[in-house]
Assembly symmetry: C2
Homo-oligomer: 197 residues x 2
DNA sequence: AAATAATGTTAAACTAGTTTAATTTTTACT
DNA sequence: AGTAAAAATTAAACTAGTTTAACATTATTT
């Protein structure tokens, strides 16, 4: 892939590790760039997840559809975030989750087929991904704690303080789904908060 | 540390990677073995987490005490599991969580000071830990989904089917905390389930 | 064997969040 | 600009889970 388009990824990577020009070139030759339109699916529940995806621009939501047909949003990914069904990716079994673009989105894809080989050739990259996942894991555990120890109102306040840019870009009913509450109740909460001020 | 006591760890590691005798010896020289009594703390909220811990025998609980003084159990770790406040460990900042032994417990400790050096000397170990964390992350995300899409009764049934050995060993009020419900409500749920059969 | 502490149960009153359904507001399309 | 579609609000009836408090059972210690 073309270096210019990969710039956001390269500067992101450089926060963790330093690649030599050769390593950078090798990496470039293996990863793929792809544009998606709003509404398009990057991964579909039931398919095997073939890529780890870095978001260059745009926004995606990752969600699970449960047995009652209800949609539960697990995460949003904007610029400089990752998205993938990690469980499906590492085991190459059918995905539990969907990833859909909620804006026109540019992604850089790390294909499953080459990633182990890339780790072998560039051990620093394995370090890089280890660190990324460590952080993702920490964030995920914190979210579990919040879901048990905070009320819906507190969780919403936390979200809107922590991710103000995301809140701007995303319809409220999706935020409700991310917070694990109904859109009606989020609407009520926002009304209450407005009165508090 | 002594090789005999490390046997469970070594066979666990061998499921992921193959170490040469020299690598194994290097690893052994860097990690520590330690016994804890029931009730002892391995990590305390507020302290910096200095080790990643592998459970050789016994059982620990990791929990967070919230602002209201309420205890929320994040995970249990039995034989062949890991425990640590990963967030505190990787950033070397004060821990959000406590780890306490709920049985007499034997741990193998991977000290923070040597782990990066160990990764450099044995890149395979970095691969090993990457894979462990990937799995932990996947499990954590699935738990978020369950906490949103399942009722308390369904979550309990899932837990008791998934971890029957853990359920045997642990008081019911701790399981309630892990499931994010009160002990009274878990008791009610168990009553209902008993009637269903 | 008795006594104490730890764990588990039951039930009534309560509350945070859901459901349903009707209405309003905002956004996108021709 | 006008229309349709998507998103957000409101409110009443409901339910899953909490709180409080009293009691029962099981382990642990002496």
């Amino acid at each position: 892939m073309n270096k210019e388009k990969a710039q956001p990824l390269l500067s992101y990577i450089s926060k963790y590790i330093t690649l030599t020009p050769e390593e950078e070139q090798l990496l470039m030759s293996q990863i793929k760039y792809r544009k998606f339109l709003k509404g398009q699916y990057v991964i579909q529940q039931g398919d095997v997840c073939k890529h780890e995806c870095f978001v260059v621009s745009g926004c995606t939501k990752m969600f699970h559809v449960d047995d009652d047909g209800q949609e539960h949003i697990i995460m949003f990914s904007i610029e400089n975030w990752w998205t993938a069904d990690m469980g499906s990716f590492i085991t190459q079994t059918p995905a539990d989750y969907n990833v859909q673009c909620i804006e026109n989105t540019e992604l850089i894809l790390f294909p499953y087929d080459i990633i182990e080989d890339l780790y072998a050739k560039i051990p620093k990259l394995e370090r890089f991904f280890r660190q990324i996942i460590e952080r993702a894991f920490v964030a995920s555990q914190k979210r579990i704690i919040r879901s048990f120890s905070l009320s819906a109102k507190e969780r919403y306040k936390y979200f809107s303080k922590q991710y103000p840019e995301i809140e701007q870009r995303i319809p409220q009913y999706m935020i409700a789904s991310y917070l694990g509450i109904t859109k009606e109740f989020l609407s009520k909460i926002k009304g209450q908060i407005a009165l508090e001020e």
